[in-house]
Amino acid sequence: MGVYLAQFLSGLASASALFLAASGLSIIFGVTRVVNFAHGSFYMLGAYFGYSLVRNLGGGALGFWVALLIASIAVGLVGLLVEVIILRRLYKAPELFQLIATFGVILVIQDVVFWYWGAENLLGPRAPGLSGIVRIFDVPMPVYDLALIAIGPLVLLGLWLLFNRTRWGVLVRAATEDREMVGALGVNQSLLFTGVFVLGSALAGLGGAIQLPKGDANLLMDFGILAEVFVVTVVGGMGSIFGAFLAAVLISELNTFGILVWPNGTLVLMFILMAVILIVRPTGLLGRPETIGQKTETGPVEVVLPAGPHYKIFVAVVIALLALLPLLVDDFILVLVTDILVLALFATSLHFLMSTGGLVSFGHAAFYGGGAYAAALLVTYAATPFELALLLAPFGAGLLALVIGWFCVRLSGVYFAMLTLAFAQVAWSVVFQWSDVTNGDDGLLGIWPAAWASGTATYYYVAFVVAAAGIFLIRRVVFAPFGYGLRATRDSSLRAAAIGIDIKRQQLAAFVFAGVMAGLAGGLFAFSKGSVFPDEMSIPRSFDALLMVLLGGIESLSGPVVGAAAFTWLHDELITFEYWRLLLGVVIVALVLLFPQGLGGAARHHVGRYLKLEASPGDLRSATPKREQRA
């Protein structure tokens, strides 16, 4: 009895910090529609600020709590900076740009924290006066846990009062319902957004700070909490604070009791719960269906045009150059270009899903890794020859995409994106923890190509031919009837349904096709490196793909290729600097602010129209009504 009660109370205690962080994310999303990936970084900053402040303000219960509050406010100020300097300029841009910008912020904060506080984990100070235990049914229970249990509902109450009893709160709620209407009624939106962002950041900071007495401040906290916070927000319903609280308690209790029953299930359990809830209630426990933004936010989509004659010549020149490359450069450049080609195929497959299908996936790496693992498992367990394994890799990924896609296409917009993220995490957790089959973190090794293809130049040609064929196939599909049908579902699902297109099936087919192509890239990757590890399925890998697509520009079909090249080159150039993450983060933010069309888009915009790279764009574009742009 006592044990279960203690377990239950522990669950409630860990729910508190989680709730604080998640409620901040939820509030920010509800009003500004920004999916703030930097939220984990705010949580981490809260812990570091709290650590330093508690040390400086000295002992005493008052000093401790004041320090935590100041830490929270300081994080709020950092949030203010991020909002005013970066995000404010992007509210009109497609949501994906905000997402990528916040990803840049993650990198910057990581390096700044490392520079200031150093690499070592900082053990959190204990709360003065609350460091002892009480006995509940003879089971020792830390007093601080009881304090945490109280803090969660207190903050919830405070937020409720703020949103229901103050004018500002009412405006925030109104903005959550209908942003444009609030703006039309003369409310200063940008001030409202800034305020909400600061509040959300401060909550994340507080969450990071109050967990100090139970743990530490370390450099892995930002990504560590991110997935969990997302799950809580989505399960609770985006924008709902009560939902976030409910979900935080539910997930913490599930974790706490889960380990009693299934010690090996840590990690996976949470995502299974999320998937189940989203299938039963697609908008989360207390979420409401999205009134605006039924479509995924890739921005105003222009009509994609077939290549013009000059563009074809341009592509032919590039291909000829690539074909001659082994004669021109040394082996290392070949390895680098092989990497670029593989990533280009990967990015193009995601780009297809996003631009043609209008489906933004946050978990596309599941299929890249899925293909890599399919090939590696075939080689390891069935001694499959290289050629066959490479051929089957995309089908393995496709199968995975079929299962995941079946669940995901039932949702749309940001919920779709979140569910893909969750499933990618499930896939990653399974691979990471099911070490009997996948060898877990130690990976599958010795996945080398057959002898004839193992030379650097030969394998370069293999990758070149396969990747180019894959990219052309994707391009072909865009202009096939299937591609046009898919665009119809993207642009107007009602009309598409009216002319007899089975929308869900069309989307599922697109999802599987993109998965197959990502799997092909994954297979190429596995054989180029000789080994496969769970990292290839991880969240950062999915981000890489999004980054490449965004770098290249969502609008142009050749964008992802440009993006993959730019991404690899940037990485390679910056890596020699000690603070390369800081630089990369700044570069990402600058690119998003300066080139909202991406590099490919910008190049096309400035150079392309003089070179006539597209079939007479002016005429067609003016004849086609643009999709309505939302604020």
Partner: protein, 402 residues
């Protein structure tokens, strides 16, 4: 300050890139790949140790009449990147071999690469047993005592405690599983009637320490074998202490005594745990004293395990180059097999049998002194004494592993 650091980094980067052509002929270049950004608390000491060794070797005139030079790359903790940099180091920077890496998966990827491309790789810190066993190959050697060796040292200590009912807690991934499996195997062989009454597998760096501590408490073990580390360890120690989990129980901690892991715990370091680690402050041999003195003089910091491993790695490479009499890879492989050298940790040998060095570890009991966790009553256990018999090792390595 910040700007100066960035500028310094830029100058440093430029100086690494620029003299590549000029220095290629006069120096012997050693490729170094490590996760400098992902786990700086572990890899920076490694790098410093390596730098110290290189400085000392070059002060004595280098090796084969040429100074040694390290060319470093950051793998970002990604195996794919590590393999790419390996290729770059060999083809563009003309390194004679590569060394380094901390993460097991990165080490394994580099080992596989070395075997495929027939290039030499000295794995300095990765612990995975398979690196030199199941996935072993002719071109991969490992310096640090492996998971199996360190777990076996603790299992021997566990057998002496008399505790029979054991519970384990380990992060749910390859290293944690290896560490538990090896511990169980060795302890069962020594004490046939031990019982394993509970296993907990928190997700790496996502421990729910309160719940895990309760779960361990509920099975009432005599002894607890802990493999968690980093922030997981800090949380586990806190919750476990508060909830009286460690009271009147034998607790073992794998690697817990290494400065990298115990120092962040400060005054809250667990007391009375039997751990493997590195009591650098108390090892009193001339060779080790000289090492600590030189290290502190150069970096104004004390050495961690990583420092010692980095230092020993460079000593090993220098010794192998001397023995081979040149930089030819095949000659270096032959030189490494059976290579004997003296290090601050004592004499070590790279076993020809499985390419594992016999560098050992220190086993002792933790206590808190002056607000810091330290090891007392420790002994240095030679790595060679904690490996399975040669017959068993032979079955563990692939037939063509050389």
């Amino acid at each position: 300050m910040g700007i100066r650091k960035v500028l310094g980094a830029a100058v440093l980067a430029a100086s690494v890139i620029a003299p590549g052509v000029a220095g290629a002929q006069e120096t012997i270049r050693i490729g170094d790949i490590n996760s400098y950004k992902n786990l700086p608390a572990f890899t920076i000491p490694y790098k410093q140790g390596a730098e110290l060794a290189i400085e000392q070797i070059n002060a004595k005139g280098g090796v084969l009449g040429k100074p040694l030079e390290i060319v470093s790359r950051d793998d970002q903790g990604k195996p794919g990147e590590a393999v790419r940099y390996a290729e770059e180091l060999f083809t563009k920077e003309n390194v004679v071999l590569i060394s380094g890496s901390l993460f097991s998966h990165v080490g394994l990827a580099l080992g596989s690469y070395a075997g495929q491309k027939k290039r030499l790789y000295l794995a300095a810190e990765p612990l995975a047993d398979s690196l030199v066993w199941a996935q072993g190959n002719r071109y991969t050697f490992r310096l640090r005592p492996s998971t199996y060796m360190q777990a076996a040292m603790l299992a021997e200590a566990a057998a002496k405690t008399g505790a029979k009912r054991w519970a384990t807690i380990a992060p749910n991934y390859a290293y944690g599983k290896d560490a538990v499996a090896a511990f169980k195997e060795v302890l069962k062989a020594k004490v046939p009637d031990v019982e394993f009454v509970g296993e907990q597998w928190p997700a790496l760096f996502k421990i729910d320490a309160a719940a895990e501590a309760q779960a361990l408490e509920s099975v009432k073990p005599d002894g607890i074998y802990n493999v968690t580390f980093g922030s997981d360890l800090a949380k586990f120690v806190r919750e476990g202490t508060l909830r009286e989990l460690f009271k009147e129980r034998t607790v073992l901690g794998l690697l817990t005594g290494e400065p990298e892991y115990i120092d962040p715990l400060g005054p809250e370091a667990p007391e009375g745990w039997i751990v493997t680690g590195y009591p650098w402050y108390a090892i009193d041999t001339p060779a080790h004293n000289a090492f600590v003195e030189a290290y502190q003089a150069k970096f104004d910091d004390y050495p961690r395990v990583g420092s010692l491993v980095g230092y020993n790695a460079m000593l090993s490479i220098a010794a192998a180059l001397e023995k081979a009499g040149g930089t030819d890879t095949e000659a270096l492989v032959e030189a490494f097999e059976g290579l004997e050298l003296d290090t601050p940790a004592g004499a070590i040998t790279y076993r020809a049998l499985d390419h594992q060095s016999t560098m050992g570890a220190w086993v002792g009991t933790t206590t808190v002194k002056d607000g810091k966790g330290v090891m007392v009553d420790w002994t240095y256990e030679k790595g060679g004494d904690y490996l399975p018999s040669d017959e068993v090792v032979k079955t563990l390595r692939p037939a063509n592993g050389g």
